[in-house]
């Protein structure tokens, strides 16, 4: 199943990227998390009839891309998922709201179309922003950030364990699926009769295995309440990053800086 291959590759890719050494990966994960959250909040708070303001928000993303030297290739693929979801909800807007507000050439533009465009842009940018966050942070550091805002260690352990086990299971599911499809060549999915036994037996096996993993963690001194308490407070570079990014986001959101620049070129 291609989906599984894709998922495995994606996790490896993100793990690999997060280990790269550059300015962004070294910054305190919590600072990055807060900035990303701020960006998404300011982005989604944009009015639905203002696509141009959404477009301005891309400046932050471009900045991060340049500073973090992030490749966009993998990111494009993730946009597909979000596009379909947003499209399902958004497609209704141009159908229902046909109130014409402008005309480009001979094509009338309705406010429904505008609000749909805004929705699509918001969807893409939000996804890119969180992609940039995780690709420069990685799962471990993300967990450290969660611990810094006092999320209980138990929950973080569960999250990290799920993340660890996912690859193991994806591979296991892939093996089972291969074995299954070799004996059932003309089936697109798994037959009804095999649902329970296929997943159920995998589950039972895994529970025993998982107990062992956790035992081995405990034997090596693991304690969910203290493990993620790593001492990395805010240092200068984190502060600079934080203030700089927050300033950029707020400026591009609230100050019509682009109109000022544009006016110089357009209306002279």
């Amino acid at each position: 199943m291609n989906k599984i291959d894709y998922a495995i590759m994606e996790i490896h890719h993100l793990d690999h990227e997060a280990k790269k050494e550059n300015i962004l990966t070294r910054i305190n994960p919590l600072a990055k998390l807060i900035i990303t959250f701020l960006y998404i909040i300011l982005l989604t708070s944009i009015d639905r009839y203002k696509p141009q303001q959404c477009i301005y928000m891309c400046i932050y993303l471009i900045l991060i891309k340049i500073i973090g030297e992030i490749s966009m290739k993998k990111c494009i693929k993730r946009l597909k998922v979000i596009f379909t979801i947003v499209l399902v909800i958004g497609i209704a807007n141009p159908i229902i709201n046909r109130n014409i507000v402008a005309q480009i050439g001979k094509i009338p533009i309705s406010s429904g179309m505008i609000s749909m465009t805004t929705l699509m842009i918001k969807g893409c940018f939000a996804i890119i922003a969180s992609y940039f966050f995780i690709i420069t942070t990685g799962m471990e550091n993300f967990c450290v950030a969660l611990r810094m805002i006092h999320i209980p260690g138990v929950l973080i352990t569960v999250i990290l364990l799920i993340y660890r086990y996912i690859i193991v299971f994806l591979k296991e599911v892939q093996r089972i699926w291969t074995a299954y499809s070799m004996r059932a060549p003309n089936q697109k999915g798994v037959n009804f009769k095999a649902w329970g036994s296929m997943i159920g037996s995998l589950m039972i096996r895994s529970i025993d295995k998982a107990g062992n993993v956790y035992d081995s963690m405990e034997l090596r001194g693991f304690n969910p309440d203290t493990f993620f308490d790593k001492k990395n407070g805010f240092c200068e570079i984190d502060l600079i990053y934080f203030i700089f990014s927050a300033a950029v986001i707020v400026v591009i959101r609230y100050i019509n800086i682009f109109e000022m620049i544009g006016n110089v070129f357009v209306f002279q």
């Binding site: 009338p108 009804f192 039972i204 107990g211």
Partner: protein, 363 residues
């Protein structure tokens, strides 16, 4: 739910609700005697749900396929608290690593999928399994649970999307689209859950939740559980009621609260949202108006809509009154933005080039 489909106010409210449920779950989980032994199982179950979501299950009789959401399954194996926490993990990883959902929408997604699936699921489990577990009861629980919790989830997705003001779909129509789709999805999920739970029941019944031999403890915990469920439901309905009240009677109430958070002071947004929400509510009136718009020829579209606006002042008036100046600013804005983008791209390119040059010099 994606980030684009929720407004900050709705997103943060849902974070608060899910957060409350999570804090409560952790507290409850810690009270269980062997909770540390449950941690690895929670991890495995979460990962399993994640991995099985990748498998397409063929639905007998039709050519289509469905997959798993997981809340009901996890509750049947781990109980509501542990199940809820593992679902949080699954949704978080999906949102961060596979762009399924979004950071802001995560709170809502946890609530719509995990909260209903686990907490309401547990309630259904308790009712169905009152006098012991059997194969038939598991089937009943799986299908009933999946259908009910998915309907609830779909219902709150509808409310959250409407409160966020991103869609122009009227409430009833949106709901009538969402519920039937999720009825089908819920049924399929129920079938898959049933198959898995029944297999585990046959092979290792002790892995299922709330073992029969602790009957006394079971009843005691059931009482406190009921209480909490009532509290949670009340809280939810109070908030939902409050939100819908604001939305209907004072249409700009929501926007106002967003503004309070973000400090947005634009007036246009205010009038817009007011009109749109009115529009949603009084869509009956609008149907007539819309049909008149559709039948109108191109030349009198402007006239038509302007007339309608004057008559009813129901439709969004953005860009109408002073459309020229408004359009002008957005054009220059976009031009300005483009210039900055080009500037940044060139700078980035130059930085890359200089780095490469350095590398070569070093070599």
């Amino acid at each position: 739910m994606a980030d684009a489909l929720v407004s900050p106010a709705v997103g943060i409210t849902m974070y608060a609700m899910s957060g409350m449920a999570a804090v409560y779950s952790i507290k409850k989980l810690r009270q269980e005697p062997d909770f540390k032994k449950k941690i690895p199982t929670m991890g495995v179950m979460g990962a399993m749900v994640f991995a099985t979501q990748m498998i397409n299950f063929t639905i007998p009789g039709t050519g289509s396929s469905g997959h798993l959401c997981g809340g009901i399954l996890l509750t049947g194996l781990l109980g509501p608290y542990a199940g809820f926490l593992s679902m949080i993990g699954v949704l978080l990883i999906q949102c961060l690593f596979f762009a399924d959902g979004g950071l802001l929408a995560l709170g809502g997604n946890i609530f719509n999928m995990a909260f209903y699936g686990c907490f309401f699921g547990a309630l259904i489990w308790k009712i169905v399994m009152q006098n012991g577990i059997s194969k038939r009861k598991i089937t009943l629980y799986s299908i009933l649970g999946s259908v009910i919790t998915l309907q609830l989830g779909a219902f709150s997705v509808t409310i959250q999307t409407l409160c966020s003001g991103v869609t122009e779909l009227p409430f009833k129509m949106f709901l009538s689209l969402m519920l039937p789709i999720h009825l089908a999805i819920g049924f399929v999920e129920g079938l898959i859950t049933m198959a898995i739970l029944n297999f585990i029941y046959a092979a290792r019944p002790e892995l299922l939740w709330s073992d029969g031999h602790e009957e006394n403890k079971y009843i005691r915990s059931g009482l406190s559980y009921k209480k909490t469920m009532i509290i949670f439901t009340c809280v939810f309905f109070v908030i939902a009621g409050f939100v819908s009240l604001i939305a209907s009677k004072q249409p700009d109430g929501l926007e106002w609260s967003i503004k309070k958070i973000t400090g947005n002071t634009e007036i246009n947004a205010k009038t817009d949202s007011k009109n749109d929400l009115d529009y949603d509510l009084k869509n009956d009136v609008n149907d007539d108006l819309n049909s008149s718009l559709i039948t109108g020829t191109k030349t009198d579209i402007y006239e038509n809509s302007e007339k309608i606006q004057q008559k009813t002042s129901l439709l969004p008036d953005y860009n109408f009154k002073n459309s020229d100046s408004d359009l002008g600013t957005s054009v220059s804005g976009i031009v300005g933005c483009m210039i900055v983008i080009i500037f940044l791209t060139i700078t980035g390119f130059l930085i890359k080039l200089s780095k490469k040059g350095k590398h070569k010099l070093n070599e």
